[in-house]
Amino acid sequence: MKVKIVLNGKTREDEINSDQLLIDYVRSHGCYSVKRGCETSNCGLCTVFLDGKPILSCSLLTARADGHRVETLEGLQKEAEEFGAFVADQGAEQCGFCNPGMIMNAIALFRENPDPSEEEIKEYLAGNLCRCSGYEGQLRAIKQFLEYRRRGGESCE
């Protein structure tokens, strides 16, 4: 079947299989930040934005994205780099496999709730699993980033 999808700002038309998952579609277009970390829709590594909302690309048929906007980390370079620097500064990660999914979902959080409490951060990121680090470094990075923005560092938007 044919689909037309705006991927990272660029309109693309493709011929796809009916059961292709969105993760395989975006990867076939070179968006390798999007990773598969589980088979059960649990890990959040495959997070992309569909019309601006974070979703699991491993669990959505590409067919359902027909006519919609899809964004991956590749399309959010500026926002991602700015926040990513805080994650790196904290040495928050070990293998880094979970990083793109976590950054995507953190960006979604910052857009939806610019001034989240610790509880709200934890709740929003509960679906982003990290097998190495124990989350403390990620939490510190998020808090420091928010503090930096509060003090008038360049906005994330």
Binding site: S41, G44, P54, S59
Partner: protein
């Protein structure tokens, strides 16, 4: 792995229903549960083009389209105001935001899963399901019906005045619940009923009615802590439990006493007029 031969975006409910009569075809909700199955589907029927993804409030009810996501339920101000935040409480620990942006209420209720937070919570409310073929029936009746090939079109929550509360126990934050409990006082002052619901027993959620006298006492705030504990224990006794990999039946029975005590205490605190 789930294999799909053909994807069909339904143009009407009639078309979707007709396609769904074939055993090899299948309705797609959010596809999260389906995706874990190992089967080949001939035609996957997508309802997402039928405008069933909104929550509408009328004078006497909330009408929730089957394609509304769990995240929409979580964020809906009026629905949560109406239910004292119970709706939000019942979905907030289901995997993660990205997951809840996909999972639908239709798939969650139609599946009648034993572990379901969503089913447990909606059973505490004055809820009906609108089925394409069988029409509108109470959710409590729907829970007991064997799965057929009908289509769940909408969930209707009647705006019967209600005080309700939802609580679960989980072994890990975003895991399936070990036990899910809800309690509600529902109806006008002169016709007020009380219910407790237990889900993830691990069997399908069941609803038990609280006696009229007990409801009156709860509303008056007349129970002492000790009395409430024995009321909770009495209700918990009537809830059949089983064992599975998450917990034993004995443990669940004990949890039920504790969770129901907490639910009833919260209801009594909110107390008074429903």
């Amino acid at each position: 792995m789930l294999k799909i031969k053909e994807y069909v975006k339904a143009e009407s409910l009639e078309q979707a229903y007709e396609l769904n009569q074939k055993k090899s075809n299948c309705i797609l909700g959010g596809m999260l549960w389906l995706k874990m199955s190992d089967r080949t589907v001939q035609k996957a029927i997508d309802l997402s083009g039928l405008g069933l993804d909104t929550i509408e409030e009328t004078e006497d009810s909330f009408s929730i389209g089957c394609m509304v996501t769990l995240r929409q339920l979580e964020l809906h101000p009026r629905l949560n105001e109406w239910t004292n935040g119970a709706i939000r409480d019942c979905v907030k620990d289901i995997v993660g935001v990205q997951f809840r942006n996909l999972a639908t209420i239709g798939g969650s209720i139609f599946g009648r899963f034993g572990f379901s937070d969503v089913l447990t919570c909606f059973l505490a409310l004055d809820t009906y399901v609108e089925l394409y073929q069988s029409g509108v029936i109470p959710l409590e009746q729907f829970v007991g019906i064997k799965r057929d090939r009908d289509i769940l079109v909408r969930i209707i929550v009647k705006k019967t005045p209600v005080k309700c509360v939802y609580m679960t126990h989980r072994n890990a934050k975003t895991d399936f619940p070990v036990l899910a409990c809800a309690a509600a006082l529902s109806g006008q002052t002169d016709n007020c009923r009380g219910y407790v619901v237990a889900g993830a027993r691990p069997g399908r959620a069941i609803r038990i009615e609280i006696g009229t006298e007990e409801v009156m006492r709860l509303r008056k705030g007349a129970y002492t802590k000790e009395d409430l504990r024995s009321l909770a224990a009495g209700l918990a006794k009537d809830i059949p439990m089983d064992s599975n990999m998450r917990a034993s039946a004995e443990y669940r029975s004990h949890l039920a006493e504790v969770l129901l005590f907490r639910c009833l205490s919260t209801l009594q605190e909110r107390g008074g007029e429903v």
